[in-house]
């Protein structure tokens, strides 16, 4: 049997707008229990934010994204954390991951235009002291993100009535 905490996380990860009352019904728990559990999850920073998955390409917003592979020199006593901190503090940076393999940090960057993005790399990222190299790849098309498929339509292929 899954704990209430895990059940709530599973429900919210599918739809973070699920009302508390419905979560209570879905789990068979008391409303107050659900509320407490969610508060605890937020307090413990397990749940950090409730945000929708947006397909910006279907809006008028001008926007481009890149994934940048960054090689850095780790610092004594700080490892990669200090330089990662320098990088993730930029507003343009949406995600930063420490990676195994041929480079160190994977940085997802978002800007209005390609030029803005290129300037970000050349003026802000590359000049950082510990950064020894970058390789930028622009995102051309988004097929799937956060488990959601962006292309095509999802169609229920079942017949309307079956035994």
């Amino acid at each position: 049997m899954q704990s209430l905490k895990m059940q709530i996380l599973e429900i919210l990860s599918e739809d973070c707008r699920t009302p508390l009352e419905r979560i209570a019904v879905m789990t068979g728990a008391e409303l107050s229990q659900v509320a407490e559990e969610i508060e605890a999850l937020e307090r413990d920073r397990v749940i950090l934010q409730y945000s929708p998955v947006i397909n910006w390409d279907r809006t008028e917003k001008e926007r481009c994204e890149a994934m940048i592979e960054v090689k850095v020199t780790p610092q004594r006593d700080m490892g990669f954390d200090a330089i990662a901190g320098r990088i993730y503090r930029f507003d343009e940076v949406k995600s930063v991951y420490l990676m195994s393999g041929s480079y160190d940090l994977l940085v997802l960057v978002e800007a209005r235009t390609l030029k803005d993005l290129a300037l970000f790399v050349s003026e802000k990222l590359s000049p950082l002291e510990s950064v020894t190299g970058t390789s930028t790849s622009f995102v051309l098309k988004r097929y799937k993100q956060d488990g959601v498929i962006f292309v095509g339509e999802s169609v229920d292929k079942r017949m309307a009535v079956s035994p």
Binding site: Q7, M26, T27
Partner: protein, 394 residues
Amino acid sequence: MSNFINPRVAQVPPSGIRRFFDIAGTMKDAISLGVGEPDFVTPYHIRSAAIDSILDGETQYTPNRGLLALRQEIADYLAERFQASYDPEKEIVVTVGASEAIDLALRVCLRSGDEVILPDPGYVSYAPCVTFAGGTPVPVPTKAEDEFRITAEEIEAAVTDKTRALIFPYPNNPTGAVMNKAQMQEIAAVVEKHDLLVISDEIYAELTYAEEETEGEKIAFSALPGMKARTVLINGFSKAFAMTGWRLGYACGPQDILYEMNKIHQYAIMCAPRQAQVAGLQALKKNRETGYEDVETMRRSYDRRRRVMLDAFRRMGLDCFEPRGAFYCFPNIQSTGLTSEEFCTRLLREHKVVCVPGDAFGKSGAGHIRCCYATDMNRMMEAFARMGQFIQSL
């Protein structure tokens, strides 16, 4: 020219569900709670195994009884999950869906005029298959106050000197009723006493929900003491692994019965499609490794939606038995003053929600509707809003 059609076949009406399907088919943007299958697609690794097998050129017949490796997996699965023990060589036949297995069992065991007891309401094909096999279906009404379980006394009361078999379909479609071990033991005593064959349709066996009664032991009917010799266990991949369209099921039972079932299967079908068998093999193998992760993930998701649907019907003021298995709710709609047929037809025409009239599953289903909660949560909520409006408008 003579009438070539056998009256025994002609007398059986087409499924009541079919008729409803025709109306629903003409309506766009209707929300359907009328389906009888998972809303999950078959897990990716299973689909992929079938594709690989096709690409590897595995396009031939398999043994009549099915790939031995698959039968071995089925035997291990039933032992591990349901305490049942079967010899993969002699006591298992892989069929084209559980439906074929039911038909085979009835054709092998029924003599002309034999009576078969079946709980009513129940799955739509039991009674027709009994009739096609030359038998007489004896529906035994089950009631919401008994949580739609058939009782030993009811079976006892229905037994005559012509009774040959009991069809025992739990967890139940359409009611969602389940039977626990103690209740099954009572049934076992009565079938023993009257020397009946049991056709135990366990296609929904994986889909039972966390309640004290069902949580404990999962046990196949044939695993009860003395029952293996008089039980044909029917199961398949459709519900537990979301594999309805693959048409893959199996029957397990006493060697002599399975020998004869395989004979009909051999002459009529040859073997279940090879790719479906390969897919089934992958489903069982992988899930045994992962602690039945696919099954558990789907089961949890159904369980949540089960609670939401039950809650919604009760809020609408409908009397609804709490289903503990399968993926259906079976609310009573008599308080609306409509018959199930009227309720479903008007709900569809006026509010574009598809439900199945309860009497499509037998006379005792009258006054109820079957609603499937293997439905997207948001669509389901919209359907409830529409049903609520409909009930208000009456």
